[in-house]
């Protein structure tokens, strides 16, 4: 499914569009649905999703995953990464995909350690 250099299928070919405009509207609908789900979850805050998992509530993990899903479709369809050569695609995505989780990982681990020190240490922070 290619038209004028655009790949018109999303969801791994599950959904195919006839033209690029149609694909844009389709992606908009998908992004709107995801955002609505996020906002609804944020307002309702279901009790069952408040259980901690890996230092964070399950709800927060869901938010982060949905954000990454949105980011993927914005980059792939709005920014046309899907239509670029794999060389360009990789040179854009891989540095971010490697550096961002790395930085997040080391800083959050460090912050968690500092929290423990402040929490169980002999220094008063609340006076």
């Amino acid at each position: 499914m290619e038209a004028e250099g655009h790949k018109l299928a999303i969801f791994r070919g599950l959904l195919k569009f006839k033209s690029n405009q149609q694909k844009i509207w389709g992606v908009l609908i998908f992004l709107s649905i995801v955002t609505t789900v996020e906002v609804a979850l944020g307002i309702i805050k279901p009790e069952i999703l408040m259980i901690p998992f890996l230092k964070m509530k399950i709800l927060n993990w869901i938010f982060i995953i949905l954000t990454l899903v949105k980011a993927y479709y914005i980059a792939w369809d709005f920014m046309h990464i899907r239509d670029e050569r794999s060389g360009l695609k990789n040179s854009i995505v891989l540095p971010l995909l490697i550096l961002i989780p790395y930085l997040a990982f080391i800083l959050l681990i460090e912050a968690d350690y500092i929290f423990d020190v402040m929490d169980s240490g002999f220094v008063a922070w609340n006076f």
Binding site: I64, F78, H80, I92, L103, L108, D112
Partner: protein
């Protein structure tokens, strides 16, 4: 499609990738370079926000309690709705942008103009909304006291279970204290305007109203702020050293000061991107009207600013998650 100045080099294969192994023009590639580096800048901001948050994980402000305003709905608690609306506006302006790019591929000048105009309007509404959010955040709502250690003490009315505003329950005390002005002396130090109520007035009002208790920054097991009993509240009231109304880079009535600092820096930096995006879009919009790209034979410039605009949208998706949802 993307036609760049054709040189003789295009036809000759230099090495095995040829002259354009990525099949992308110079300008577009440079825009991608910029976007990747800018993405890492925002990463730095957001990760340091996460650092501060994990460091203060049991006393971080709850976003739902901070951002509760919606235009024209005064006094109604509407957490998240307005930011959700802003998110939709930005996603929609992203869609009109990508439609403008698509129309550019088909050389439809009038369509490109129309979609660019919609994009600019969407961006302007978004920046305006963000300014309004800032205004509410800076002005504050209930006010609070600050202890010597920088902890924030907020007030709850046990009869209604709602937050109590210090301006409302404070009992006025006659005083001659007034803001020091430069006209009143030769040797002077500039002073910011005084809070509407003084610490003594708040303390007096607190002791006069038996329903009031203090809420601290600490979160309990359920993730709610800890509310002290009346006697505990009276004890901790003595620790207060000042009144805080609203938020700035030094004081923050909502809780941890770093929250306000990161809010100003991250949404401010993003808002600056949106603002410059709108300005760039306006420039390109006029170029489209003037027929610059019609004469050039391609609308690649629209695609390039489109990439920037989508990137701004992409960053907002993350800011929205980490500031308002998580």
């Amino acid at each position: 499609m993307e036609v760049t100045a054709n040189t003789a080099a295009d036809s000759e294969e230099v090495w095995r990738g040829g002259n354009k192994p990525l099949n992308v023009s110079y300008g577009k590639m440079m825009m991608w370079f910029f976007i990747v580096s800018d993405a890492l800048t925002f990463t730095g901001f957001l990760v340091s926000y996460g650092f501060s948050r994990f460091k203060n994980i049991n006393s971080w402000p709850i976003a739902d309690e901070v951002f509760t305003h919606f235009p024209f709905l005064h006094g109604i608690d509407a957490p998240m709705y307005y930011v959700a609306l802003m998110t939709f506006i930005l996603i929609f302006s992203s869609v009109t942008m990508v439609l403008a790019v698509d129309a550019g591929h088909h050389m439809h000048k009038s369509k490109v103009t129309f979609y660019m105009l919609l994009t600019i309007i969407g961006g302007a509404i978004f920046v305006g909304s963000q300014a309004w959010e800032w205004k509410n955040f800076i002005r504050g709502e209930y006010g609070a006291l600050e202890t010597r250690g920088g902890q924030i003490l907020q007030f709850v009315d046990t009869s209604s279970g709602k937050r109590a505003s210090i301006q409302e329950f404070a009992v006025a005390i006659e005083t001659n204290r007034s803001t020091h002005k430069s006209s009143n002396g030769i040797w002077y130090k500039a002073e910011t305007s005084l809070p509407t109520v003084s610490l003594e007035e708040v303390k007096k009002g607190f002791l006069a109203n038996k329903n009031l208790v203090i809420r601290t920054q600490e979160l309990d097991e359920k993730g709610q702020k800890t509310v002290l009993s009346r006697s505990e509240s009276k004890g901790i009231l003595g620790n207060a050293v000042g009144v805080v109304e609203g938020a700035n880079l030094i004081h923050n009535e909502y809780g941890n000061r770093l929250f306000a600092d990161f809010f100003f820096f991250i949404t401010g930096f993003h808002g600056f991107h949106v603002f410059s995006g709108v300005v760039i879009n306006i420039i390109i919009f006029f170029n489209v009207i003037l027929g610059t790209y019609e004469r050039r034979g391609h609308y690649e410039m629209v695609e390039k600013v489109g990439l920037y605009w989508h990137f701004v949208d992409l960053v907002w998706v993350f800011v929205f998650t980490f500031f308002y949802l998580v």
